[in-house]
């Protein structure tokens, strides 16, 4: 398993439901030992892509699935690939019986399967649960079993279809960390489908943005997450504030995250233009909402509304009254010049930027 081409990929992959095209991916490759996150909104075709790659699609699929750079037969792919679906589906029986079922399908004896599965059971912390009836598990435990069941096979390709959705945040963070640790050093090519960019950042070296059945951007995760190419990807990546040229006087539409968009609370509030990546616009204060960890402020401008997020609880007395004219300061705005990845973005990430950071939930999603 050496060379650039080891791993899973596809060429000219298309999925149709009737005459409607659900997905079109001209080319994709995930190298052995690396993880690709496929990030997209609901209905973008993420699961469709995953199921097509895993030969699990109930739709019409055309194109080639490549294993180690070569078109592979169904039985070869079936042997190489394991997929974890969004909902954990358990078989009747104990947790242990479920964990070994992937190995059993591959003709491994029960005894041998138990021996091979045990390190994974321990790595994912399922030891105390092995004798439990799989259908008595909580959703979080069941998803943990489902992931362990997939890892126990020692698959060359692991496909994960939003495995963390529906889990509470603590369970999710724990499972995310355990999965990350389990995958590290494994020669597995992993594809994670998700709508959550924090999961992409935590698990994947590379990220592809999938919108309307097409990959809009693809590259190193930190880079892709920080450089929205168009309005759709900007929204997906949390750059929900859209600043058209009319508002900023620039030549391109800018986008910014709410947490980088803040009210100027006092005229003396900070050196107004300390860096060239700070912009300010004016608008009318529409409402303020205290969210505990942050205070959300909605401002109407001449070109739509902006959402500001102030960390912590901003005192009501600090905020101007509703309906008053306010100034909004925007940091780290990104320019939607073109989807071309080689084009430098208008601003470079600041020192406080989280480029290259790894870990779950790097900021709260509000």
């Amino acid at each position: 398993m050496s060379g650039l081409s080891a791993g899973i990929g596809c060429r000219g992959l298309r999925v149709h439901a009737g005459r409607r095209e659900l997905l079109s991916v001209p080319e994709l490759h995930v190298a052995a030992g690396s993880t690709l996150a496929v990030l997209g909104p609901n209905g973008a075709g993420k699961s469709t892509l995953l199921r097509a790659l895993g030969l699990l699609s109930s739709h019409r699929v055309s194109g080639e699935i490549l294993l180690d750079g070569r078109p592979a037969t169904r039985s070869l792919l079936r042997d190489a690939i394991v997929a974890v679906l969004q909902r954990p589906i358990m078989r009747r029986g104990t947790v242990a019986a479920n964990v070994i079922s992937g190995l059993r399908f591959r003709g491994v004896s029960r005894r041998e399967a138990r021996i091979r599965a045990w390190p994974w059971i321990e790595a994912l912390g399922l030891g105390p649960l092995v004798g439990r009836d799989a259908r008595s598990l909580s959703i979080g435990e069941a998803q943990r079993v489902s992931i362990t069941r997939a890892l126990a096979v020692g698959p060359r390709v692991l496909l994960l279809d939003e495995p963390f959705s529906g889990l509470d945040s603590t369970t999710r963070a724990d499972l995310l960390a355990d999965l990350r640790a389990a995958l590290t050093g494994q020669p597995t090519a992993t594809i994670l489908v998700t709508h959550d960019r924090h999961e992409a950042l935590a698990l994947a070296e590379d990220t592809a943005l999938l919108i309307d059945g097409r990959i809009r951007q693809h590259g190193p995760t930190a880079e892709v997450l920080d450089r929205p190419g168009d309005a759709d990807t900007a929204r997906l990546l949390g750059y929900t504030n859209l600043l058209p040229p009319a508002l900023t006087g620039g030549t391109h539409t800018l986008v910014a995250r709410p947490e980088h968009t803040q009210l100027v609370l006092a005229p003396s509030d900070g050196p107004a233009d300390q860096a060239h990546d700070v912009r300010s616009v004016t608008g009318t204060l529409r409402r303020t909402v205290a969210l505990g960890v942050a205070t959300r402020v909605d401002v109407d401008t001449s070109a739509g509304s902006l959402t500001c997020l102030h960390p912590g609880d901003v005192l009501a007395t600090e905020l101007p009254p509703i309906g008053s004219d306010v100034r909004v300061r925007i940091r780290q705005a990104r320019s939607l010049i073109t989807a071309d990845r080689d084009e430098p973005t208008e601003t470079l990430p600041g020192p406080g930027d989280r480029q290259g950071t790894r870990g779950p939930a790097f900021d709260s999603e509000l």
């Binding site: 199921r51 895993g54 030969l55 699990l56 109930s58 079936r78 042997d79 690939i81 394991v82 997929a83 974890v84 679906l85 909902r87 589906i89 078989r91 009747r92 029986g93 104990t94 019986a97 079922s101 992937g102 399908f105 591959r106 069941r149 997939a150 096979v153 496909l159």
Partner: protein, 233 residues
Amino acid sequence: MDVLFNGLVDAIRLLLTGDQDSWSITALTLRVSLTATAIALLLGLPLGATVALARFPGRRIALAAVNTGMGLPPVVVGLFVTVLLWRSGPVGGLGLLYTPTAMVIAQAAIATPIVAALVAAALQQVDPDFRVQMQALGATPIRALAALLGEARLPLLAAAMAAFGAVVSEVGAAQMVGGNLAGQTRVLTTAAVLATSRGQFSLAIAFGIILLLIAFGVNLSLTLIQQRQTVMR
């Protein structure tokens, strides 16, 4: 009350002494009903699985038709099979009317829709993505289907019990296509009807008890299979 009590006592004595006729009637009942159930399982399992899992136009109509078939009156089935097997009928040349084979055919026709409908219900109650997840773990489509059947084995065995219960207890079709010929096509239900009509209540009650015992015995063995597997896994 006396009639019932005396009947019961006589019936038990009859059972304990066990005359030749009762034994042959019991054996024929078992043979006909078990064969019919086996055929119904062979036909009903794939039929029910297809209606439950395959995607084809008119699937829901097929499902409704199968469900309707659960309530098929044995007399209606008996009538149809009689007409089919009648000497001048489509397959009258085979001379099957008033033979145990004819009874098996009629009872299988009664039980097949029961099996199909209960199999369809059993398979549909399992997560629709179950087979997908099994295939995602490396199972071939056939292996995944087998896993699904294993997953639904409790309701599937219940389908077998329901089918056997329906055919062993029916009298209309057995009477019509079998003719209740002594020593040839007389089964427990038709024998009980005849005995009752002749006023031989204790004999009728004896047949009734045997019928219940058979039903209990067959269901007991199926239940034991069903529950043993549950504990084992």
